[in-house]
Symmetry: D2
Subunit: 278 residues, 4 copies
């Protein structure tokens, strides 16, 4: 399946783009039914999409859909399925014999439990203790092999697939069709591209992001600028910013490349912070 | 806008098909990831789709989408918007001056309040009292004209569109982009093609149904047979059926054109009814 | 945790009712805002709830909520989580060491793969081959023990919980808080009390059903009569029924205990079938 | 209905709290199933809730529900109903005669169309042109009276309520039961308390906010600090901030009252901005 619509992920997984509904223009088309159609050049389209993203006018992004075929370990699937806004169909291990493949950890894959973060990992084992890394892989290989042997033995003796599967490890690969609209996809990406997300689902998110950017380049660029790489300060942090900065907003000129409406919006935010009304 | 993708509805409304994601084959493709891919001929596809519909395996139908551009009175919109599974963008009467068109009732349109059904209509006024029908239209025309005049006067005097609109009647036309997946569309159609639905939304539902049938002929035929034209009997009604029928299911041959698996399913239902275990 | 709000399920699972919003009266209260408040006695309440259920006026049932604390194997969780309308929080095996308990199969538990149904089980192994049943349990016990040993060893060596868990079997117990409104709960119960659902999730569904019936006795009785124990005939099956029955609906008297409005509705259905307009 | 659970809104509307599921503790309870239960004092509860809100761990907030009885003009209803995550039942003008009350604009109510903002209002008419304000109210009163007269005349002549209602203005009052979980309520409040939202729905949002704060004081305070009064800077704005500020984050002490983990998070944000990796 090595085609331009497929990206390999992990040792035996992939993300494949199956179908797309709409283009950046479909977002504009839906928005213009609300906002009127006075502005019509391609450059206006880009401005409109960026305006919608900046002000969280999210409904026009719902008018676009992406459909993927994904092969992933059940452990990652357990995280993916929590995004309830997607439509999905999954390979059934009640109906069919389970896929005979597991996400395996090579010696270089093992990560340490993070000290600072209860739910993360931090640093590779192999870098300071190669024998543990090698031994862990060896033991994992043995246990996965034993489990596979038992699974097949149970099936051979006529035991129901829906029961035999209960011994399968979470690393067992499964496959899904997964369809989601662009607004909900961006929300998914915001959460799963985050550095605190588990590394494995980050890898799937990156492949999915690639296809979103390819199909909706302007909307995805707006998502980058206004959501993914944005920074939110709490009320208390705005107070702290006020202590750190001393700016006369009215005297401010151009700044950071911001112009026109965006420059004004920036000044409005600074004014609110300076006046403590954030 | 008189093209093959547009159907006129009411005096000034329409339903226009904008885009479709998928075909009947996309349903099959999503289902096969669950059910395996042993069966591959077009005739098998039809069987699979009908099996999915019959057994309410609804998720593969979610893999398809239809997008419409609809012009409709706000009164109908108030019913349409209750289907929360659709994505929609609407013409904004905060941003733009309201569309200068209302759903008008011609003398032949007026219906009587139903006697038997608190929330329906029954019979045309013009058939037994033409003068009431004529007079009602005349008065409606006058009031709609007065309202339009006032709306324009308020705007002319600089009053905000978001306030001026509050006098607009529910018959005012609005426009939307409306996107929904095929599973949710069938649910919408089941409710809004029903003879108890208000006649106006039934007319929109019929136009939408036309495009669903055109884009997904096999799935829509299955919806017709297993949902739209099905008949559900309650537990008590099953008891009543048992009193009315005396059938030896085991001795039954072919019946009503049913064959194979569907004949067996029918016999299973009759057996349950005959044995009172429904 | 052996209290009246907890029901044990499987070898180490349970369903515990945590909180309820509303009563049967809350359904009536919400419906009356639509239908007016002319009818007010308790017997009228029951009639109204049954009318709503019979005619699939589902929104008033959304006004009630049930919240559960459930302990279940991850294999069952994979089915439960597909009901996207519930709110849920799950025990995190990124954050905490996995629960050290698995759903085990005792010799009497093993079921044969169904011959007639690709995705089901049929008959107990122990009944005709005790040695296979005993041997399967013995091997499962050994493999589960080996997996637990490896899981602990990986954690002991500092490997991240989010990686070590990938070898855990689907039978590993997890815990959730699970909240769902009554309409969506009935939909869940319709699907998961069905005899074709996997036996394990049927057992959870039965426990959940118990609490629904306790908290909303009238609504749940209506669900029993009009949904759970109803029987739906397709268009083709209605044709077959017409061949099998010869009924003069106009001459029909009381039947199966049906009276009043429900008797009329039953006659309407029979008339449609007899006239082939179903 | 002047009780402590009812707040009057507009000239004839109200928001009434009907029922609540959960307390701040229910959020903690649901979160602890994920995060373990090491921390148990009330002060820890507050910290946990604030942590969840700050890091957008939204699912525990879904475990709480609020149910309201609201009387509002149909024009506001058209905005409220767009929040698809709520459950709602509305007064039916098919079933019952419409409520004989409209949102009226007193002379002091009329606002000018905003010049700078296509979809807003700006300044009161009465302040600089009392005669337009008086005249507008007078004309509105006349038209509303004419419409009411026609509506009643149509009903008197037996015309169906579902048709007669089409002339009713958007200012006609309606009533709903409206239930929503706390996470979705906060999202609603973020959008509808915003100064760009229409003033009328802001007034309803304020009444709803009051009850949310009363029922969930800690969660609502966290929403205030981390969402409602937060300030988000885009990637480009972060670049501009870097030009405006010159901070040695490593040398920074306490600031703006931030302490401990929140101070560290603030420093992390500043570091990202200073290093241009936002």
């Amino acid at each position: 399946m090595p085609d331009k619509n497929t990206i390999a992920v992990l040792d035996d997984g992939f993300v494949r783009l199956v179908d797309v509904m709409g283009t950046d223009s479909a977002i504009v088309q839906a928005a213009r039914i609300s906002y009127g159609d006075g502005t019509k050049t391609p450059s206006d389209d880009r401005h409109l999409i960026r305006y919608l993203m900046r002000h969280r006018h999210t409904s026009p992004f719902e008018q676009c859909e992406l459909k993927f075929h994904i092969r992933l370990p059940m452990d990652v699937m357990r995280q993916l399925v929590r995004h309830r806004t997607a439509s999905l169909n999954e390979y059934s291990t009640r109906y069919s014999v389970a896929i005979d493949s597991h996400q395996k950890h090579y010696p270089g894959d093992w990560r340490y439990q993070a000290k600072s973060n209860q739910q993360g990992s931090d640093g590779f084992v192999i870098n300071d203790n190669a024998s543990i890394a090698l031994e862990s892989t060896k033991k994992e290989t043995q246990v996965l092999s034993d489990v596979s042997t038992l699974y097949k033995a149970l099936l051979d003796q006529g035991i129901a697939r829906e029961q035999a599967r209960s011994i399968l490890p979470l690393s067992t690969y499964t496959e899904i069709y997964w369809k989601i609209n662009l607004h909900n996809l961006f929300h998914f990406l915001k959460l799963r591209l985050d550095s605190h997300a588990q590394q494995e689902i980050q890898m799937y998110a990156k492949a999915i992001y690639h296809f979103a950017k390819q199909a909706f380049p302007i909307a995805t660029e707006a998502f980058d600028d206004y959501v993914l790489h944005s920074c939110t300060f709490s009320k208390q942090e705005c107070n702290a910013l006020r202590e750190l900065m001393s700016i006369d907003v009215t005297a401010m000129g151009e700044c950071g490349g911001l112009q026109g409406r965006e420059l004004n919006e920036f000044k409005d935010k600074l004014t609110m912070i300076m006046e403590g009304v954030c």
